[in-house]
Subunit: 138 residues, 2 copies
DNA sequence: TTATAAATGCACTTCCGTTGCATTGTATTT
DNA sequence: AAATACAATGCAACGGAAGTGCATTTATAA
């Protein structure tokens, strides 16, 4: 088990206080977060720093971006061994219409999707919307 | 075969010049269009009118909205017999990373997606990204 | 024709993402 | 240790797209 510091260093990302804090924040969250979420969690830090930190993480396959259809970009930590950079992360995402939260369903891979002749599939974004387990009470 | 006028009247939407023009514009386009696309096609008309027209169409299941991940909302005519309003339109969308166009693949329905226990699926958004038939040359 | 309501146009706002640039902090070299 | 070089952070501003309030025009109905 490697530390966060080791992870960052392995990706050639300098270890700073902010980056450690933001990483920990993402790690303890069970849901995808928006930039505003991070902003609210770190009042003292500037929006831009948070934005660039997340972007840095994204470029190094530490987090992946999620477009859940709300119009607001969300972020979540990549699983270890995730290959977002070379091929798309094929797990699906679930957006709850009730609590408005979005989660990675990393266990649920996206099935093979057929496209018409002449079309070349390179990436797939699949978002299921409905009611999450916390809200459904099932 | 019903006329556009008849279609609008059947949905209790008043027939206006703008609405007929915008409908025809959408009908002759083979790809999903942005509000800016419509704006460029109708210089004289105001953005707000176009915006509200499309929204009116959307509320009456004449067009459906497409979130292809570009961050810009796109619109396309619904097929006849489409049930966007009561259940989600289950066809998938394809976004070309080369020409940046998005098309409805109405023939390609979204397969059944399994979600974990406790989750209730109500709607699915599936966007395949890659190279379209025009750009691939295949 | 007049009264009523909807459609359109104009101005303005908000929200999110993004960038330029100055400043601070860190690491490396001399 | 001091000087240097470069990256990280903070502040301010911008831009695009979606959305809203209100006045005006246009269509429908009485
Ligand atoms: Mn995910
Ligand atoms: Mn479609
Ligand atoms: Zn929920
Ligand atoms: Zn193309």
């Amino acid at each position: 088990m490697q530390t966060i510091e080791q992870l960052l260093e392995s990706k050639n990302i300098r270890v700073t206080a902010m980056r450690l804090l933001i990483y920990k924040f993402l790690a303890e969250k069970q849901v995808a977060v928006t930039l505003s979420d991070i902003e609210n969690a770190f009042d003292k830090a500037d929006r831009t720093t948070l934005y660039r930190t997340v972007k840095t993480f994204e470029e190094s396959t530490i987090v992946h971006q999620i477009d859940d259809g709300t119009g607001i970009t969300k972020y979540a930590l990549c699983e270890k061994g995730c290959n977002c950079d070379i091929e798309t992360d094929l797990h699906l995402h679930f957006h709850c219409n009730n609590c408005n939260e979005t989660v990675c369903l990393t266990e649920h891979k996206i099935p093979q999707i057929k496209v018409p002749n002449g079309f070349i599939s390179e990436d797939i974004n699949l978002v299921v919307k409905g009611v999450c387990d916390k809200c459904s009470g099932l």
